[in-house]
């Protein structure tokens, strides 16, 4: 099944483009999708993961819902889902 992944900031630089459409098996989790992309782009894995977990400062969503509010990297994905990975979102001045 095809999963669309959008990357932002340094994560985009690690994979070289904004969007990657990735094919995975039907029982895949969001962690499987990102780890599999990180095989070709090891810097992505370094930025996103620490000891197999999502780094505290990094953000991943499935269909615009943060995985921390779902099952973390174990959140299942389905055909046509959108995964987004983005860096810390600090607010700021004008």
């Amino acid at each position: 099944m095809a999963i669309t992944c959008d990357f932002y900031g340094p994560l985009r630089e690690a994979v070289g483009r904004k969007t990657i459409t990735h094919d995975v098996s039907t029982d895949a989790t969001v962690g499987d999708v990102l780890e599999s992309i990180a095989v070709d782009h090891p810097e992505l894995g370094e930025l996103l993961f620490s000891d197999g977990d999502l780094r505290e400062t990094m953000n991943v969503s499935v269909n615009s819902r943060h995985v921390r509010l779902q099952d973390g990297l174990e959140t299942p994905v389905e055909d046509g889902d959108t995964v987004r990975a983005y860096p810390p979102a600090e607010g700021g001045s004008t």
Partner: protein, 556 residues
């Protein structure tokens, strides 16, 4: 508990008198910065003062950390009664002023009265001098710096200045420092203008004695700032633009849409392409600022930051980063808050079906600064003119709504509703845990406690003074304890007292729960407001019981 030291210097620009007052008790209770300035403003500005009258007072204040060499402390606070919100309000700016301010020997400088001629005021450790500057009428901010440099050798890091917008009491006029850094929100530049003060310089060599605890931690924070590979160090806050647009919201065409098709053209990468060197605030190794240049036109400015990318970009339907840079440069030169100005211009574009007309945007900014043509109306801000324009009121308590979209991050929506400063994202920054999935962005139920904690923390941040970009990133709760040599809960209580004094002052001017409002529906808002008031120990109508204010340490 660590607190600033140094006296209060009061300058009456009406009779040109100067007095110095010992404020050790207030500093001990409120640390410095916004905290001590709020306490002084609460007790010294008459509750019925006209924001543009002689009785209003401005408080420039530093915190104890402005005597340190720690990154994330190149900030100053400014407090006064706002002509935009009609309430007590503090604004915060970076740049290089803070160390020169502290070197005068004062922790707070208070400006009161009304001058009958345009003045420059020079504050040093040897006293105060008044210089009539009628020839600087209508001068832009960089021209004032040039004049002060030519005459007195004063560089921009010594100066706070208003542009023509402040002189013409545009309600969202800013006070500028270091030419391009703004005490932006709430129109305190108009207060300075109403007092006929064009600029103030700070210089000296007499920083008050202060022993800073745990200075090893300062070095640790400094090292982390210097070695961080955070994207903010390259793109500042503009790095947020694209993923907020795709994942949450980037308010577009006067908030009528949540997504802007041109986000990539005005966002972090587009701004970084125009960046030509690194820049920072005093002693800050994080250096997140954005000097930008367009080689084709020769236009130079600093920024735009994310909020300006929204206010003059997506919200005006403008998708060329150079056009946004131009709006940014004009606002800095004339001395106006880019959020309020951009949102007010967007309201005009909505009323006249002119979204995307960048030339008109730039014309309107000029007209507002000089109160010419339609600019005279727009200079009043959205809350006062939306009926006349026939558009919705996207200002809360008079302050134009920031980019972080309370319709999508709804705890932030609750925060806008209760904030004493109104539509301001920096008051509680509750959107950050919502973006990070630490709180569910949907709904307001159960979020009052988050909003309260963040409001208290941010009031502490602004009293200390620490930059927002250091809080969470480098200065966590335990580090606050070490920096201020105090229990974290005690530190949060200082923040709570600051919020409460602001609220109490505003209550005396007629504000109550009716003003705790946002221009969109939020689930459970009524019950969340009650929860917020209950947790704060306030009355059901959102007012502060008098006995709570009497009980605040150091209150008269």
């Amino acid at each position: 508990m660590l607190h600033a030291t140094g006296s209060l210097l009061t300058i009456d620009v009406g009779d040109r008198s100067v007095t110095t007052t010992d404020i050790d008790d207030e500093l001990a209770a409120f640390i410095g910065g916004r905290g001590v300035a709020t306490k002084l403003a609460h007790d010294r500005i008459p509750f019925d003062a006209d924001p543009l009258g002689a009785d209003n007072r401005l408080y420039f204040a530093s915190g104890p950390l402005q005597q340190s060499n720690m990154s994330f402390t190149g900030r100053m606070s400014l407090t006064g009664l706002s002509p935009l919100t009609d309430g007590l309000l503090s604004s915060n700016a970076g740049g290089y002023l803070s160390r020169n301010f502290v070197a005068t020997g004062h922790s707070v400088v208070e400006i009161v009265g009304e001058s009958d001629e345009l003045l420059a005021i020079h504050v040093t450790d040897e006293g105060v001098e008044f210089e009539p500057v009628p020839e600087l009428e209508d001068a832009g901010v960089p021209a004032v710096t040039d004049a002060m440099n030519d005459r007195h050798g004063l560089e921009s890091e010594h100066l706070v200045t208003i542009g023509p917008a402040g002189e013409r009491v545009v309600r969202f006029a800013s006070v500028m420092t270091y030419d391009e850094r703004a005490f932006g929100r709430g129109g305190l530049g108009a207060v300075m203008g109403a007092k006929s003060v064009k600029c103030i310089s700070f210089d000296g060599d007499s920083a008050p004695a202060l022993e800073l605890p745990n200075e090893d931690l300062h070095m640790e924070v400094h090292r982390e700032a210097a070695t961080s590979d955070d994207i903010m160090r390259r793109q500042g806050t503009t790095n947020l633009t694209e993923f907020l647009n795709d994942e949450f919201s980037l308010p577009t065409r006067y908030y009528s849409e949540l997504e802007f098709e041109g986000a990539a053209d005005i966002g972090g990468n587009a701004v970084e392409e125009k960046k030509y060197e690194k820049a920072a605030c005093s002693v800050c190794a994080f250096a997140c600022k954005l000097p930008t240049r367009d080689e084709e036109t020769g236009l130079e400015t600093e920024g735009p930051e994310f909020e300006t990318v929204f206010s003059f970009g997506s919200n005006c339907g403008v998708d060329d980063v150079v056009d946004v840079m131009k709006s940014n440069e004009l606002c800095d030169r004339y001395g106006m808050d880019t959020i309020s100005c951009g949102v007010t211009v967007a309201a005009y574009l909505a009323a006249n079906d002119e979204f995307g007309n960048a030339e008109l945007v730039h014309d309107l900014v000029e007209q507002i600064a000089f109160r010419e043509g339609d600019g005279d109306l727009l200079a009043e801000g959205v809350a006062r003119i939306h009926d006349e324009l026939g558009v919705e009121n996207w200002a809360i308590k008079g302050l134009e709504h920031a980019a972080h979209d309370g319709r999508v991050v709804q705890g932030q929506g609750l925060s806008y509703a209760v904030a004493n400063r109104g539509g301001d994202h920096m008051y509680s920054t509750t959107m950050i845990p919502e973006y990070h999935g630490k709180i569910d962005p949907e709904g307001t139920a159960g979020k009052a406690e988050h909003v309260i904690r963040n409001e208290n923390l941010n009031a502490l941040r602004d009293s200390g003074i620490i930059c927002q970009f250091g809080v969470g990133r480098a200065v966590e709760d335990d580090r606050f304890e070490r920096l201020f040599d105090a229990d974290f809960q005690d530190l949060l209580s200082v923040g709570s007292r600051v919020v409460e004094l602001e609220r109490h002052f505003n209550n005396q001017r007629g504000f109550d729960g009716e003003d705790d409002w946002v221009p969109y529906d939020l689930p459970d808002l009524e019950s969340s407001l009650q929860e917020y008031y209950d947790e704060r120990g306030w009355n059901d109508d959102g007012t502060v019981p008098a006995d709570r204010v009497d009980a605040i340490a150091g209150s008269d």
